[in-house]
Amino acid sequence: MTNERELTMAKAIAEAIDQEMERDERVFVMGEDVGIYGGIFGATQGLYEKYGAERVMDTPISETAFIGAATGAAAEGMRPIVELMFVDFFGVCMDQIYNHLAKNTYMSGGHARYPVVLTTAIGGGYNDAAQHSQCLYGLFAHVPGLKIVVPSTAYDAKGLMISAIRDDNPVMYFFHKGLMGLGWMKYHPRSVTPTPEAPYTIPFGKADVKRAGRDVTIVSLAMMVHRSLDAAEELAKEGIEAEVIDLRTLVPLDRETVVNSVKKTHRLLVVDEDYHSFGMTGEIAAIVAEEALDYLDAPIRRLAVPDTPIPYSRPLEQFVLPGAERIAETVRTMMG
């Protein structure tokens, strides 16, 4: 790996899309500011220059129309990649997403196919407040019919994007703004990784053990993988070895890797940047309580946004977002 070129996550995503657009004429991109601008978070940079306005289409601010149009175009055999600029905006177009794109295949008895990749930006930490900082993937994972992909590194991002584009089902692909490697937003350096140039796929439903450890299992995704890894480094100095699992996809969900890890470590902490209640942390905790109850040496713990909207002001936002220190501290209380 050492000789391989490193990419930011944004570049890795754009490269994956580029390679698939070259490979398959049916792939095209739609969304707000995906053209000349290259996507507000750079996920489509360079594509407009290469493929032109016919295959990289700027849209009006009409998410219901253009996401619904992606469904309609997919039914005809096209393979649209469509961007919802921030996941926070889902409320203006959720019906087309979850009542149609997600359910049509089932309602058709499996006859109709909708190979749509719906990309969207998630995450806070840069003070963009309550309507521009959410994660919300748990909500989309709750309703059936959407595959849910949430990468944390450039390497994963590229392979998962190619898998998403080649999948014949609707895939929602969430990229965390703070992992994109943008010039204008602080990003976690660990998101920049060696990334092969040749196209490759990463299968859905395979969690990645980003760090092995024997004492506690930390389950997470996106930015919180890195915060957990940061915490794990601190804890290692104290002799506590945390295993950090990056779920990578919520649907399908790799229950096995989580459960096996807990069976080994006997402790579970779930860390999430989404809201605490009725979301990802609850689901993972429940699975372990169902399947590995007898292996637990300590109560399951969860760290997530404490059921408040994301506040604007820096000290407030920092208070609600789980950080490495709080993760480490929580693990310490579990070891006692």
Partner: protein, 329 residues
């Protein structure tokens, strides 16, 4: 109008297919629901929205369409599905919840999908507009002269999706035709109570596209107006908006007490039955004989009978199959 006798009789027959289908469905729906009406019982449970009286819209419009053209229908979808050419057997079986249905019993009356005939529909009001734009976009990208038609009720014209889709279609000059069925009611809410202007086709001006109102529930009037829009779309000149006045003979759904509806409304509408009027016209203009008409009607009835028999004889899906088809592989 350059329709041959065969074509005219085919339209007449199709209108009867729809009418028989809806009337027979109304009867089948009540099976198991008397004396005490229970929406969940009988061979056809769930909500049931019938389109008897609205045949002119579906038949007049779809007469212009080919198999490759896309139709997206509504929660009241049978007439569109039949006019688009979906196999009656599979359609009926789906509504009876059978394994032989279009969606293996998973979709039901409001969710009919036929990939071969490029038909789909939705129980969500206003949801037909965006996917029709997408189908039209795909046709354009593939260099085909295919068109897409989105049907919707007049109530749906006040959904945001209407506006967004019309703008998108006009902006991108998509080969899509938006057809509003104005049956005067959205459940119990009249058009006057819901829509700030009397004529939705006037909204076309807000998108710089043609807007036409068909003021009669007449299959040939619809045929003519939609024909122009379809030609225009196939020529690459973009979308059109058409509103057709039509009549809902049944309640909003079966079991609707219709207390909101003036008592004499339905009898008045039924006295102006668009199929009977069309038949009379064919007779009076010497295009068809009574025997032609009877034969068409009988053939329609036979088709419907066969489809219902097929549906009734078909097996239910295996319960565990509920777990399949969330994703394709």
């Amino acid at each position: 109008m350059n329709l041959t006798k065969e074509q005219l009789l085919a339209m007449y027959r199709q209108m009867w297919t729809i009418r028989h289908f809806e009337d027979d469905m109304a009867a089948a729906y009540m099976e198991g629901k008397t004396p005490a009406f229970d929406i969940g019982s009988g061979p056809v449970p769930g909500e049931m929205h019938l389109a008897a009286g609205q045949e002119p819209v579906a038949v007049g419009a779809c007469m212009h369409l080919r198999k490759e053209d896309t139709v997206v229908g509504t929660h009241r979808p049978h007439h569109f599905a039949i006019a688009k050419g979906i196999a009656l057997n599979k359609l009926t079986a789906e509504i009876f919840g059978k394994a032989t249905g279009l969606g293996k019993g998973k979709g039901g009356h409001m969710h009919l999908f036929d990939v071969e005939h490029k038909f789909s529909c939705s129980g969500i009001i206003g949801a037909s507009f965006p996917p029709a734009c997408g189908a039209a976009l795909a046709a354009k990208k593939m260099g085909k002269d295919w068109v897409a038609v989105a049907f919707a009720g007049e109530g749906a014209a006040n959904q945001g999706a209407f506006h967004e889709a019309l703008n998108l279609a006009a902006l991108w000059k998509l080969p899509v035709i938006f057809i509003i069925e104005d049956n005067a009611w959205a459940i119990s809410v009249s058009k006057r109570q819901s829509t700030a202007i009397p004529d939705n086709s006037q909204r076309a001006a807000g998108y710089g596209i043609p807007g036409v109102r068909v003021d009669e529930n007449d299959v040939l009037a619809v045929y003519e107006v939609v024909g122009e829009a379809v030609q225009r779309a196939r020529r690459g000149e973009g979308p059109s908006l058409i509103e057709v006045k039509t009549d809902r003979f049944y309640g909003h759904f079966q079991g609707d007490p219709e207390l909101y509806r003036p008592k004499d409304e339905v009898p008045t509408l039924r006295a102006n039955d668009p199929i009977l009027r069309f038949g009379k016209q064919l007779l009076e203009q010497g295009i068809a004989t009574q025997a032609d008409l009877d034969a068409a009607r009988d053939a329609a009835k036979a088709d419907v009978n066969a489809a219902f028999a097929f549906a009734r004889q078909s097996p239910y899906p295996a319960p565990e199959s509920a777990l399949e088809d969330v994703f394709v592989s």
